[in-house]
Symmetry: D3
Subunit: 287 residues, 6 copies
């Protein structure tokens, strides 16, 4: 689900420029004539997890030096164990050292997200509910962090403010009610834009269900209220999808799923995950 | 320690564009004539921590709409408690809703980093050792994540490959030894560029100390070896700074500091921290 | 429905740079010390039509010189007659002359689109069908040309390849059938992404209707086949929207609408419309 | 007359990004592992006209995926008939579908311009007068729309405000007369910049002719006045070129040309032309 | 003759970013809370010369901090003496120190060019010949270095490859002769583009004169050959301008001018000029 | 010491766009179908000097047209004599002519700097002192002009405001003294950032030496004061480096070096150097 490189390259190039700045003083200082020896590098998992981002790592090295060869041994979405070989890279030692940090930072961060995602997905694997992500992402990383949750087994929620309508309490208050808000928005948005309404009470659920909106979000509701809401929506608006949101944890998610939810959203994969540790070991041709 | 806005604005603007895409379907759908009512918003801490990033949040709203008024109640570096008021914002409701996510994502992420940093800093507060960060940062966030570790009480390590020389095992092997590597680099780099050498054995420490390099890093050494290394460096190269690195945790950091280290580096603040939860509550003028 | 200026400004600035190049030889040649007199300008309609783009024209002058005052007399969406005053501008004569062409080109082009749109909209005003646009737009003008069709009374179709799924004959063939294509796509896309299926036969309509997709497009079908298709969809998939497409003209559109269509799409507003003629008349303070 | 790709690529890449956004949901949804089959596509003219833009279409596909093969069958400037094969493309089906719209939009628009241009050029083919374009172009498309008028047989007028001096009534009034305006400008502009003066009366023509300017434009003059103006200029300033402008239509252009005009300018090719219809038909390797 | 800031700002901003990098360690280190005191600065000439670039310096400080006040005391084109006050600046001491180098580098370089230009202009002040510049300029500085030669009293030659046709020996050889080259080019270029032909022999001059080209360049000719060439051109092509080029020095330029040349071009102002020394002296409010 | 092309390409591409503008009217006018013949070009030194920038020239042609072959005959840092062959280029004549000026301007400027640098370096070759450059560089050329001074034999000073702390009189005054300034800065900057203090009196030198700063600059001091300062620093702060600055000329530099200076800085290589003259001679395949 990665966009083509014509979309990604400017981002990846900026990241290389961020790290390299005015030049790599260490490798340039050692090899001012750009005659560094050829080296071979291995990426080794230093923890168990789900890998994400290898095609991006390959591209990072390519953009730095098209003669570098990056061979993914694992594939995105694969579960790796500590000590497993993830990728092999060969090329100018200077390029390997110059691109290492950007490529690793990216894959370690994305794999951390997909690994955490996988644990949430596993927790609801026996229900029809699907885990979805949110717009809580590191600025500048939206596309790639959503790629990582997808790789980890989640399905994506909207990518931005233009990707779907989400009517929250403030929108609704400003418009003077759910019905008014939905009708006003419907008159103005592209007809391909789905409408989701956030609800906090059963009365709001009822109003939203009567409007045949595409998705109703049950925000921070107690279990019993969610049960009621689901019954109500299924009865009056069968084509509407239902999303649970708010304070979902790895401990509570299965119970929520079993209520018959369509989607359960959480930002935990992004806001409460660690990086997956990966190391790069280089062996030079001259050794 | 933030650079001026002429440096930051292009980054912040890109982040707004990432989230807004082709337009905010929700607020534009409700207010197609850009006549949204004025609203007031409060940012409230939903967890205890150290705040970082408020001047950036203010700028995000300013870039979206210069008529929005963002008033920081807390200041960067301040410890806040759950429920505390962090900032107040007033302006067009459409702008508040459009800028909310980018501004909050930024401050929640940076505050998560500075909060974790503060716990590490506290652990070594009784020693002269200073906590330092690394180049393990989210691509595109280098300057701001390092700002967050600084706000949390750490001191920054180099910002990029051009900011200092760091000679690692591969550089050293490629050059044929520490002495050769240091001499070769010294001939080519700006004279204002500091040289740090990574060492793993006492013999390497000894060689590095004899070269009067600016910093010697003790990489993943056992406690006893570090003790020896410090003694050796203090004796033979008193102006050289000493940095411990590798597998530093909140449990082990104090003991390492007490060895008499100058700097202890870890990426934990960035790679193993959660976002600090903050919520934005809007009250509209019309309510 | 225009996105905020943080999104639009880079585009508008590039357009000014395109026209100005290395400097306006005429006004700079006359006023090398940037001391041109103040002038007042009027924009006058030279044909009847629906105006679109005035807020953009105002911004073009603002970006060139914040001291210029642009006062829209008409508002976007208003029908104007030949000779009517559309806007008044006052400021440095050099700025008026430098910004004139970019601002007018934009408004004349967009108003041409909205004027043509209005004639199509009027033709189906008595039916519940809504006119929708397409992705046939001038490269670089997507957002603004879609703004113009909206201003003319149409509703927008998707803005880009990421805005909705549209499964065409080639997608379907590649997947091995409509059912396979829809199922495969559903597993991978954001759950907020609507799915539209293009159909050319009644059998295809039947298959698509059984999959409960969001929109079925009837592509280039004869009237009778469209009648059959609508009946079939309404019976088996009542929440699915129906779009007619292909060879819609101002002469045939009403008949298609009367079949009970939800949406009728055409690119005619963009590909077969003339610019609305508008002239700018300047009166200088010194005259 | 196209500039090199180092100039064009950033524009073409932005156009791809405009359409693709965060990714092609349809093809990425079908082929999330980027393993789409190879397809072959044909571009077929659906109307008669003059083709323009094929090298740009080839580049659009190349920028998306260098392994796509685009073979132009027609060449820019060639007249094609309905049903004629224009180009063949082969490559990943996903790339063909992703690049189709941008490439076609470009060629259909440019070919529409060159086709309309050709009808105007034909109308004055028996006179020495040359058709020229104007600065009325879609913002962002100046270079390419002028390329299209050139391909259609016109000759280009200035590309921007820096490309030649054009003294209009407002410039002249601001300077206090034609003589003053011309002299003031001449002192300041690059000596390689040609000066054109717009005239509306015979007296103005006379004054301009006495100044030996490079071009005199006869703006919106009646036929008899143009005849007089030409005689006057030929007599007193033989090296000055003469341009007719204003309300030129396909019906009146021949008569104007026969007066002995050097250039006749109109924006009709850009502001009053339809797109040339072209369709892309894909046959997959697997069919 | 400076283009508007919409053209210049991106260039000036990049220059500030080049110098500031990730932040000004000195002023940020001293004033991490951005609370530097207000300071006043004076720019003093440390050599005699012609000032150029003050509006750009003012803009540099403005882009860094709109609250800084830059007051030009001299104006561009004015001759200043050692010790003279050129400008006064007041604002945050941090901003003054951060913007100083970029602003001064720009004005010192441009003033160096305009000062050298003035000496060449003075040398031919008694002849009708005008000094013109060339395309030998520092990459990225074309517009501003040509501004500086204009300020110094020269008139600009073409700004780029699109600004005029210049047919050199290689163009002519490739086309098969001057006549063929001129005719071929004339058929393809905008009619507003002037044609200049480079000549090295009297025969070439004769051929060029017969084609009524706009400018004939006499390249590296001996004095006597130039005299002949001028006579020949004046006789056969009176509206053609004549430019001398090649090995013009401050010692030879007057003699060349007296031959009756229209233009004499040299790159000396750019390639053989020193910076004009200017110092910035700050007095802080707190002193 | 050049950074990788991912850093340099955007700069080089902008320079090509600056010169080419909307297209090369001369070569495009001659070869509108891009069918120019193949040509061969030689770069010949027209003066003695030290060459710098050939890898950049090669890249300029490559970015314009990857099929061009640029063969450096000299290498950067080599001393060439008038008439010597520097490089050979073969490829489309149109590309050779289009890229010539940008590539030559760059190499002529940089070689001018490295040639001047070499004369200063030679003057102090018998002392241990090293020549260093400054931040007085043409805006936009910082990296490359510092590359040229390095190629000429100098060693680089800081590249920007983030590359080292330099405390000047104004910083010191604002902080209330050298000790206060150094201490305040030390608390805030990355620990890898070196601190340099500018001194004008012996008392200041003494204070700076007591703080163990990395570098002390002796600014515009008389010889005898420098001698005293050096003795004082060597005695009290042996690891501190000493830099002389201010009014260094080719006549005085040797005497300063002999005092036992570590570094001597001057901007003369950049601000008081001429371009090295190089010509490009083309021989076409068809001749």
């Amino acid at each position: 689900m990665l966009p083509p490189f014509v979309v990604l390259d400017p981002i990846l190039e900026n990241w290389l420029r961020e790290d390299i700045g005015r030049g790599d003083r260490s490798t340039n200082g050692l090899f001012p004539d750009h005659n560094a020896p050829i080296g071979n590098a291995k990426w080794i998992a230093k923890a168990d997890g789900v890998i994400a981002g290898l095609p991006l790592a390959a591209r990072v090295f390519y953009l730095l030096d098209p003669s570098v060869k990056f061979t993914a041994i694992a594939r995105d979405g694969q579960t790796v164990k500590t000590g497993e070989l993830i990728a092999e890279i060969s090329g100018s030692l200077a390029t390997l050292l110059m691109g290492e940090r950007v490529a690793l930072n990216l894959v370690m961060r994305l794999s951390g997200i997909s690994s955490t995602t996988a644990t949430y997905v596993k927790a609801i694997a026996n229900s029809p509910a699907r885990l979805v992500d949110t717009r809580k992402t590191i600025p500048g990383m939206r596309i790639l962090e959503k790629y990582a949750t997808f790789i980890g087994g989640a399905i994506n929620h909207r990518y931005g403010l233009d990707d779907a309508v989400m009517l929250k309490d403030n929108h609704i208050a400003a418009a003077g009610g759910i019905t008014e808000a939905v009708n006003r928005v419907r008159a103005n948005i592209p007809f391909t834009t789905l409408i989701e309404v956030e609800t906090e009470t059963v009365a709001q659920v009822q109003e939203a269900a009567s409007l045949n909106v595409n998705v109703i979000m049950l925000d921070n509701m107690p279990m019993e209220m969610m049960r009621q809401a689901i019954a109500l929506i299924r009865a009056h608006s069968p084509s509407t999808k239902i999303e649970a949101s708010g304070n979902i944890t790895i401990d509570t998610i299965a119970a929520v799923a079993e209520l018959g939810m369509d989607y359960i959203s959480t930002s935990a994969m992004v806001t409460r995950s660690y990086w997956l540790d990966i190391s790069m070991r280089i062996s030079n041709a001259f050794q």
